[in-house]
Amino acid sequence: MVADEVSETAIQSACSVVGAGLSHSFPGTATLFLDLDFVLLPSQITGVCGPSGCGKSTLLSILAGWETPKTGTVKRDGVRHVGWVFQNPHGVAARTALDHVVFPLLAAGLLRAEAEPEAMRIMSLFALGEIAQRPFSALSGGEAQRLMLARAVAAKPDLLLVDEPTAQLDVTTAATVNSVLGSIAASGAIVVIATHDQGTRTVCDQVIDLGLPQARVKGARLTR
């Protein structure tokens, strides 16, 4: 099924991300999290959960190396390409949905003739086959959100950071996305999802719960 199809595209790599004693706060905010320890491994989905404003996106940016934590360290081993799917979809208005997914494949050295069928395959995983030829500007919010996921998957990241992937989706589409996220992880990538969607949470192998009072006090409780 879906998992097998995705695994064809993924890079099998022995990589890991280890967070130790992570704490962060911005000037003017309370401590967002304190003394977080976790290990992220390939083929695992880690959920970062908690209410709005608790620091989920901030933790993702620390994992990506774009933000430096106040204390603690993040050790990325063997992570060559980090893919980030932002909370808000963004794209080139006049280019087609297909073009957006083809692009990372071209960047990786494929020719368009090779990249198009591959991009179509990835898009169909996200139920985007129908809208492949539509310009980005004509996509609905949910379609654009899934397109961003498809594009990120096409870039074959070792570490895929996904911010609120199901926020704009209905229950059925969210379920599709959740199952595809599972398959992406199964193909050997480290997947981290910031979410407050219960459905997404169930596909996670582990959850860093920033909403729990303990997370703010000392360490996050890792639930399995």
């Binding site: 940016s61 980030w84 080139v92 692009f103 071209l106 368009r112 310009p135």
Partner: protein
């Protein structure tokens, strides 16, 4: 990224209007075209002044040294590449025509080369040259024979010598060319552009007489215009002489705008794994098309302007002013390259952080 992919991505961005090629081509065409046409018209003004200057014989200069000018040397000046025409002149005796015995006409003895100064260079020296207004008053035409107190004279040619501030002596006069070996009084030359170094050549046509220390002075033949007109300085100091650098700046600025309005797209492309070289090449290719189309339009505009402006040398005028569109084009390429190299993947992150 493969070269074919770079080309196809650039092509798609152009075709679907992502890079707004029509708008930017139009802006390049208008900006560089306006600057180039302004330069053409400034050059046309300088040119018209130069034409007026030459038409008023203001580009002629002469020396006067009684019975000290070697006519052969004076005529020979015209063979130099910097001197257009030259000839020697001496005041002759007054002449009466049989038809008007009461009137005395001024005559001048001139060397054969003198005709080139008057535009009658090809005319035969077998006969006299009559000033056009005088000829009209007497009803004379080239080829006619006039009985005079010195016998029959043939009118070999007519020359124009309007009263516009130039040395008035040749107006209403008759010139008698002769290949005399005896010294003349004056040597005149006409050169364009007027070069100070030619003055020394002119002075060299006078015999040096030991003991005569009266310094010879080179004077312009038209005292109204000829004093301190420097066509070269007029040209280099024209208002639009720096227009091409503004065109370069305009090209750079347009390209920077073209890249920075798409900065999120470029940052996302880097995030999607595109290498900097292929990103640079894609951007340059797109710029090549819109800036090229714009600059080409500017070039044609400038060519038409040069041809229609009526300048003496439209081709050189075009070569000078076409630098505006050419530099706008180069500026656009440089601006694109510079701007795209400033795009950082981090931009994407910062953008989404700051929303």
């Amino acid at each position: 990224m493969r070269a074919r992919s770079v080309i196809s991505e650039a092509g798609r961005n152009l075709a679907c209007g992502t890079s707004k090629p029509l708008l930017f081509a139009l802006l390049v065409a208008v900006l560089s075209g306006v600057l180039a046409v302004a330069d053409v018209s400034a050059i046309a003004r300088v040119d018209a002044a130069a034409v007026r200057f030459q038409a008023a014989a203001a580009s002629m200069r002469g020396i006067a040294a009684e019975r000290r000018i070697d006519a052969a040397s004076c005529d020979a000046l015209a063979r130099l590449s910097t001197i257009a025409a030259s000839g020697a002149l001496s005041t002759g005796e007054v002449l009466r025509l049989d038809a008007a015995p009461m009137t005395q006409f001024h005559t001048y003895r001139v060397s054969p080369g003198f005709g080139s100064l008057l535009g009658v260079g090809g005319a035969t020296t077998d006969g006299v040259w009559v000033e056009a207004e005088l000829a009209a008053a007497l009803g004379l035409q080239a080829g006619m024979t006039v009985p005079t107190e010195r016998g029959d004279l043939t009118v070999a040619a007519l020359y124009r010598w309007p009263n516009d501030g130039r040395d008035a002596r040749l107006g209403f006069s008759i010139l008698i060319p002769e290949s005399a070996s005896e010294p003349f009084d004056e040597c005149w030359m006409s050169s364009w552009p007027v070069l100070p170094s030619n003055d020394d050549l002119l002075l060299s046509t006078a015999y040096v007489i030991p003991g005569s220390n009266a310094a010879l002075q080179v004077v312009p033949l038209n005292k109204n215009l000829g004093r301190d007109y420097d066509a070269n300085a007029e040209f280099t100091s024209r208002v639009t002489s720096e227009a091409r650098w503004f065109a370069l700046l305009a090209g750079v600025a347009l390209a920077v705008v073209a890249v920075s309005r798409r900065r999120m797209e470029y940052a996302a492309a880097l995030h999607a794994g595109q290498d900097r070289t292929s990103q640079l090449l894609t951007v340059l290719l797109e710029t090549l098309v819109w800036a090229g189309a714009g600059a080409l339009t500017g070039t044609v505009t400038c060519l038409l302007a040069a041809r229609l402006s009526g300048v003496t040398d439209w081709y050189t005028t075009w070569l000078v002013t076409v630098r505006c569109p050419v530099l706008a084009f180069i500026g656009a390429l440089l601006g694109s390259a510079g701007a795209i190299l400033c795009i950082k993947e981090r931009l994407l992150f910062r953008y989404f952080r700051n929303r």
